[in-house]
Symmetry: C2
Subunit: 320 residues, 2 copies
């Protein structure tokens, strides 16, 4: 199958939100008056971001999900995306599954595929996603203030738990493995929550590299510190709620530094607690208060008694 | 070197055109009132789009050049781009060269790096570029009309000539090889010409896969045919002007189907010939009239006597 046939068969669909979709030199995008475009780009490489055994449907889903997670963290409404795909071969079954998973998530968010590139090469997927946000209202990493509450959405650590099970480092009951695997393979980008938090939260980031590592970006950009209550960890790991018994330190490692969660970490003034809860309810996403922003620099992880934990957490860093 | 250090050291610079640059979940873009964003994405894979021996500086240059070529063909002014980079290792010398070549071309076009992604993996580069064009004025593939002239910019076929020399299929005098190699490794995107052609040309495309193959996209989208005068071929190959003697059929193959040229093919009414020449002069780019758009479908390559040539030309197709 040729490159252009491949695009036509699996990826070319009518577009509504872009004045011009797939098939010209460029797609054309026009944010509504007073809106800014929030742009993000994420690349997925086999063996690093997904296992070679993954169902292509879930790979398609996840490729877009990890990208929509960023406009979500900015409080932007997804609008469109481009897809660049390097493939070892034009495998029809793979392409059918990949495009099905990709476009199902795109449809769920009203986000249109407007362009991209396909080529032969080692399997590599790059998506650039575009969201729309009222000018000056995007949730940034730089807005956290001393005294703000620190919150996270959803549950954390289950994706990493599934990865450790795939790696054979941990053995899980089937039901817990299945649920964790869904978290690893089918993350749900928190775009509804992000939009609901515009005007409520002071800063936000999506948790892709582990909570503590990503939180550090907020602290650096905002010029503040934070205290995280590690006693929250068990209630944030879905596997624990499902009855899995794990060492406390392992639970903390998974929740605080596991990565691949695609939940939001965000800050909001204490006066906005009810508004944060309402935003979570509106988005159908659980929100949990896990700490506070401090005026002094540094990131402290505290036990239930408020004492600093000595445990070392190192977030993923793709070049470490 | 960690991912974030790598970005900070080689790629993070102050941005002026974007309300928010590198370092948040999303970059923010805001086209001026009445403007549309022209968006394009191209992926480059080692062995397919560049040789492993290429100077990283020229790889950086070319990675952006092939992307800016698309806003050029749309008549858009480059504004910003995102860069996704999968690298086998964080090699300082490679990164210094790559970022130098990339950012030098970006600066030459006033186009800012606003975001992206870095990860470890087989060398793969994806850029998404953003240009600005007055709403409704972009040069599309669909605007060619029967009776229009068919034009190309610059010279064609020299990049492919260099590739064939690298492959050992042809032997070239050093000076001609050096010049052809510059065409292969350092293409100059025709963005000034594209902008000058807005309101003059009826359709345009950038020639990346070979003139005939790319022209076919204009014909398909516009519902027309075309006749190309193959007698133009020798004057379009810079190596011929420099004295290289080649078989006529080879020259035609290089010029009409060589690929990797990043010149523009475009159409304009015969009444606009002076305006096309003026646009070329304004942009400092040669323009050559090489044929005409026909009402009937099909793409005919004619010899100097107006007879159809039997020679078979097959443009690149990355999955053929």
């Amino acid at each position: 199958m040729g490159e252009f046939d491949l695009i036509a068969k699996y990826f070319d669909r009518p577009v509504r939100r872009s004045p011009l979709g797939i098939g010209d030199d460029c797609a054309l995008l026009q944010p509504a008056p007073g809106m800014q475009l929030a742009v993000t780009s994420d690349m997925l490489v086999e063996g690093r971001h997904f296992l070679s055994t993954v169902d292509p449907r879930w790979l398609g889903h996840k490729s877009l999900a990890v990208n929509l997670s960023d406009p979500g963290a900015a409080g932007a409404r997804p609008l469109a995306f481009t897809l660049s795909l390097a493939l070892p071969s034009a495998d029809a079954a793979w392409l059918a599954g990949f495009s099905e998973g990709l476009l199902a998530l795109a449809d769920a968010h009203g986000c249109e595929l407007v362009g991209g590139d396909t080529t032969r090469g080692p399997l590599c997927i790059n998506i650039t996603a575009f969201g729309e946000v009222p000018a000056g209202r995007a949730l940034l990493r730089s807005g956290a203030r001393a005294g703000d509450d620190l919150w996270v959405s959803g549950t954390l650590g289950d994706a990493r738990l599934a990865l450790e099970a795939f790696r054979g480092r941990i053995s899980l009951p089937q039901a817990i493995f299945d649920a964790a695997r869904v978290r690893m393979e089918q993350p749900q980008p928190r775009v509804a929550l992000g939009q609901a938090l515009v005007g409520v939260a002071t800063s936000a980031i999506d948790i892709s590299d582990g909570l503590l590592g990503d939180l550090a970006h907020i602290l650096q950009r905002s010029g503040v510190g934070a205290s995280v209550n590690a006693a929250c960890a068990p209630q944030l790991l879905a596997a624990t709620a499902a009855g899995l018994q794990l060492d406390e330190a392992v639970v903390r490692e998974l929740v605080l530094a596991g990565g691949d969660d695609y939940e939001l970490a965000f800050t909001a003034p204490a006066s906005q607690r009810a508004a944060v809860e309402a935003a979570g309810a509106q988005a159908g996403t659980r929100v949990t208060r896990i700490g506070a922003i401090d005026a002094g620099p540094g990131l402290r992880v505290l036990d239930a008694g408020g004492r600093a934990l000595a445990q070392d957490f190192a977030g993923f860093d793709h070049f470490r």
